[in-house]
Amino acid sequence: MTALLIENVSKSYGPLETVCDVSLHLAAGERLALLGHNGAGKTTLMRMVLGLTPLTSGKIEVLGVAPGSRAARRAIGFLPESVAFHGALTGREQLHHFARLKSVKASVADDFLERVGLTHAMNRKIRTYSKGMRQRIGLAQALLGQPKLAVLDEPTSGLDPISRHEFYDIVDDLAKAGTAVLLSSHALTDLETRTDRIAIMSKGRLLANDSLMSLRKSAGLPIKVQVTATEATADQVAQRLGGQRINGCTITLNVQQEGKVALLGEIASLGNLVKDIDVTPASLEDLYRHYSTADQEGT
């Protein structure tokens, strides 16, 4: 089932075109990460999905209905990029309020407070919360009521490494329960294993939209192989493999996917001239750089 359908959507603020002919679709249980430089149009796209701002052209459907309609809003959970809850309220009061708006029981809201690790601070004023704790309140409210579509704008900003990990565990659980997750992030390393699909935006355009594997394939970025030899054998190994020696005993080689197995066989045949091998496929960061600079060269 399609949870979110975005078709040829554009948005202009006066002469400034901030989203330009973007098409995307998101199935139930799918996790899509939206990447892009500051001002690429990620937040604008999300605001259109939520019905907070009208489209200039194109069409968006949330679970088959118009964005911003009551039915759509009932099925959505949203974590804004920056939100300042009223400092005079306690975290618990604030979350219970949102629970009431979504007709969710207060006890369920308390469970979510536990889930995001705020139980110990729930009766304290939000004014006294740290940045990450505020972010968790936002996260907890986005999870209320089993949303069919979760729109999370930079959900991990302000979270410490362990919390980021826990956050993606929550996202996994959501996806398993059938929630489609659309999230944006600048923290690329977290995303690699925790999303199904990556969409890269630049200057309002969608440059890429595929799984990490397919992105790697179509980018054709080489795989980096690092061979560690000893001081004595390094030169010999470098000569035999044709790589570049980067320090006393390490040689790096770049190889395309097709040549990987052959190269590894060759290295293995060197026997005990080699002490260690490291194989690193192109990281998401490499891919991101590849796609965004390819765009700049094109224009």
Partner: protein, 273 residues
């Protein structure tokens, strides 16, 4: 409907910890007590209902305080929430803008009603303590309470209007203070000036009464100051009281909240969070 209650509840929680609310409660209580204790003494012996005298002086006070409280409660409601980002978030919940506005209005009206009720209860209590409970007429007190609510509601609506029309809460607060000054101070001064210049001509007889009624603060004053005390207690402005009657100020006072809230809703609908 449940969402309206949820919003009322949240706004009441916020109001409980709001500095403005605490301040207005204290002001209301303090002034009511002082006016009741100080104002009653000389007339009490003349056979005039001491409660009526107190009500008259508290009306003068309420004309200033009630609009101020209404505006202070409302100016942040939309612009402030839009600035903080909570408005955008609220609007992704299944709740309409009308419900949000209604919820806030009901909560703020309760707060205002509470402040006025505290002041009037103090007045009634102190009067009874001073003069005994016999022969007191409570009707003016109830009338003052009801019209204070209407006056407060009008200025709440005006505050929401301003809050929906500007982008920043700080701008809204400035505009709201100007509106307060104009409505409760400058407007009357202007009318007074015009009256003096006109000296009983066409303006005084035909335009002036309507202008007086059109301002909710003046309509409020006209309703609560009985004709016989108006001429003695109020300045030249009250002189028009007898010719105006009660009906038209009452209509004005009831129309204002409805109109202001409707306009606020129209303005709020156009806000992009």
């Amino acid at each position: 409907m449940m969402s309206v209650f949820a919003i009322v509840r949240l706004e009441l929680l916020i109001a409980r910890r709001n500095m403005w609310v605490a301040t207005s409660l204290i002001l209301m209580g303090l002034f009511s007590s002082v006016l009741t204790l100080a104002g009653g003494a000389p007339t009490g012996t003349l056979g005039v209902d001491p409660l009526l005298v107190a009500v008259t002086s508290i009306t003068t006070l309420s004309v200033y305080l009630v609009p101020l409280i209404g505006l202070l409660l409302s100016f942040d409601s939309i612009a402030g929430e839009a600035e903080r980002g909570t408005l955008a978030l609220s609007l992704t919940y299944p709740v309409s803008r009308g419900e949000i506005l209604l919820g806030k209005f009901l909560a703020h009206l309760m707060v205002l009603g509470f402040a006025v009720a505290v002041g009037l209860a103090l007045t009634a209590g102190l009067t009874i303590w001073k003069y005994g409970a016999a022969d007191l007429s409570y009707l003016p007190l109830l009338k003052l309470f009801a019209t204070s609510l209407a006056l407060g509601a009008a200025f709440l609506g005006i505050g929401y209007c301003v809050s929906a029309l500007v982008r920043q809460a700080s701008t809204a607060s400035g505009i709201v203070i100007i509106i307060w000054l104009v409505c409760v101070v400058l407007y009357d001064l202007g009318l007074l000036g015009a009256l003096v210049a006109d000296s009983g001509g066409y303006f005084t007889k035909t335009v002036f009464p309507w202008l007086l009624i059109a301002n909710p603060a003046d309509a409020f004053r006209l309703i609560n100051m009985p004709a016989e005390t108006v001429s003695t207690l109020a300045s030249g402005l009250g002189a028009a009281g007898p010719t105006i009657g009660l009906a038209s100020p009452l209509v004005s006072l009831l129309l204002w909240p409805v109109m202001a809230l409707f306009l606020a809703w129209l303005a709020f609908r156009r806000v992009e969070p």
